[in-house]
Symmetry: C2
Subunit: 388 residues, 2 copies
């Protein structure tokens, strides 16, 4: 099996793109990625595309061939849907196809339009990622579900709202210089604690925003990178995926996210690394508590230890293990179907040195991304390494 390199990354600004279509957004990201890679679009052999709520937001499913067309690609195109991990699985399957030698050059990423929906409609549309029969009909929405998980975590391990407020504040600080971020503004711990409660113990600033945006990666085999003299210093060396029961009530515990632990274990095994090797991480902080779950599932912290990480300054940009230097879903934004690709694009930029926050991780050789669907009924973890 061949190694897989990230030859190019492309992102749209994350935020509100009123009046632009989904295909327009994805084409922009794909074009940026292809230009970044220096790869001619005729060489692309496969498009793996993530989207979550297109049927509801744009009355458009079957988006993969549309996106290929918009991006000027003439190749088989497939849509992946795994709630908020849609682009994560799309990238994962592209990684597997490249390293199996099925294709030499793939584009993978995703897109979501959300801000065109009313608040009520966007809440309804996000809810289709939960268990309709056993959660949604009982009134559970995602802020409520993550609030339940946070309460259970606090009960079992300790931690409080101030710990979580430090996660929010940290990620907003990280987003300050990120030109793609939806919110390039500071949010203090106090401001977070003073914000209106959404679902106790989570307040408004514990939640990620509603976002439009797209992401794209150009993935190539090492052989193709050499043959075409591509500058592709970052390799994807590990990929892992895990699933869990969809409804919280059906799980043995909700103070942990075992699907992500399984995904991380698989990805580390795949890459031949351990959690100790990881120097930087982009994780799925749809809510502040979700970052805590992510860090523990990734084995970067023992259960119960991650909740204070931001407060202790360990996961801040000047800490030992900077987490979500992009700003995370929290401040950079969360266009659901694009997020998994965006995390890998941001981590690639961080590792190759052209991210506004690269200075904080100039010695980093190994990073991970963690992308989750629903209340982590699905999880995808990737290991990225500087390969020279």
């Amino acid at each position: 099996m061949t190694g897989v390199r990230v030859a190019g990354v492309g992102l749209t600004e994350f935020g509100e793109h009123a009046g632009r279509t989904g295909r327009d957004l994805f084409a922009e990201a794909a074009n940026v990625a292809l230009r970044d890679a220096g790869v001619d679009r005729e060489r692309v052999e496969q498009l793996n595309y993530g989207n979550f709520m297109g049927a509801l937001a744009e009355r458009q499913s079957h988006q993969a061939p549309l996106m290929a067309e918009a991006a000027g690609l003439h190749c088989p195109a497939t849509r992946y849907e795994e709630a908020c991990a849609s682009a994560g699985v799309a990238v994962r399957e592209a990684v597997r196809a490249v390293r199996a030698g099925e294709v030499d050059v793939a584009v993978a990423g995703g897109m979501e339009r959300m801000t065109n929906l009313s608040t009520e409609r966007v809440t309804e549309s996000l809810a289709v990622a939960a268990d309709e029969l056993f959660e949604v009909r009982a009134g559970v929405t995602f802020p409520g579900a993550y609030a339940l998980m946070a309460r259970r975590y606090f009960d079992r391990f300790g931690g409080d709202q101030t710990d979580l407020a430090h996660v929010a504040s940290k990620n907003h600080t990280h987003a300050l210089d990120n030109e793609y971020a939806q919110y390039q503004r500071e949010v203090s711990v106090e401001e977070t604690l003073d914000a209106p409660t959404v679902a106790s113990p989570l307040g408004l600033f514990d939640a990620c925003p509603v976002t439009d945006g797209a992401s794209a990666l150009v993935l190539v085999s090492e052989a193709a990178a050499q043959r075409h003299d591509l500058t592709a210093p970052v390799a994807i060396t590990g990929t892992g995926q895990g699933s869990d029961r969809a409804a919280l009530q059906d799980r043995e515990t909700i103070a942990e996210t075992p699907a992500a632990r399984r995904a991380a274990t698989a990805a580390y095994d795949d890459a031949g690394i351990t959690a100790d090797d990881v120097a930087v991480a982009e994780v799925h902080d749809c809510f502040t508590i979700a970052e805590v779950f992510a860090l523990e599932s990734l084995g970067l912290y023992e259960p119960g230890e991650a909740v204070g990480a931001a407060r202790r300054g360990e996961t801040t940009r000047d800490g030992e293990l900077p987490v979500n230097l992009s700003g995370g879903l929290k401040a950079k934004g969360h266009p659901v179907g694009a997020t998994g690709g965006s995390q890998i694009a941001e981590l690639t930029r961080l590792l190759r040195g052209d991210h506004p926050n690269s200075e904080w991780v100039s010695d980093a050789e190994v990073g991970v991304t963690h992308n989750a669907g629903g209340t982590v009924a699905s999880a995808v973890v990737h290991v990225l390494e500087v390969a020279g």
Copy 2:
């Protein structure tokens, strides 16, 4: 790379399943497939699941982990959506994962619930497979789109409604003994021609029905089949996928379906066969004219020649090249997200000798399946061979 065997197949009855959930249907198909394979569910390493309109029909996306749970599987689960080719791409990616050695045992298939929707809602929901901006807003629905394609075909190559009526009648005859078929009843050529017009030149019996149902396959590596002494006499030896522009108006021709030709060429190359080797085919006859396009794209007929194939008795069960011995989408039914898996399940049964129609193809060694999305903006072709 290892070979891939179909170790087990599972189907629900196709038809109306009022009062049953999607997860219930898929669990039934998966359980039948696992029992058929004699594979313990703990050995399944990956679930590839196809579904098209779950967000609209059941307000349920993120279905893959739900389906794994319902089927008692504890493995990564991914949903694929490619309109009516959703299960086709799900199976294709499972085939690739098995032969790359990523997993030894995968379950692949799909499910759709449709009959719970009103006629108006089901039409709206199917329309999200077309180009919303450039087709749907202009009033194009799928019967209308295929009618345009049929008219263009007739103009260019000849053929008439009677030719198409023979396709309908043939597939209904084939479905007579299929215990899974939605319509186990004869429909004569005259009855088809007398049926109400839906979109000229297509009448009611030129169209497939609205269907609930599920399909599942157990795919294993040759090594695993030997190791566990599985009876798996049918191999998937070739897989191919093609995409095209979504909107008919954007294509160079609508009297052919180039995406399917590309998929077929890739699948034949992959298997090391030619169209001449094919002895039996299950193709995507969502409308009678679609079977004509399929046979020409598969290289089984020259352009313009397939329209008379059923009328000439070549593709009937006693013909030289039996097509849609299952009854096809036309008579067996078309639960959109399940269809691509159902085709492979039916062809497997035909080739291994336990299909009610196996007697008509007792000497067949090679068969193909052809699964299409929308107006063939997406296509997936698989080659199946008797491997002993």
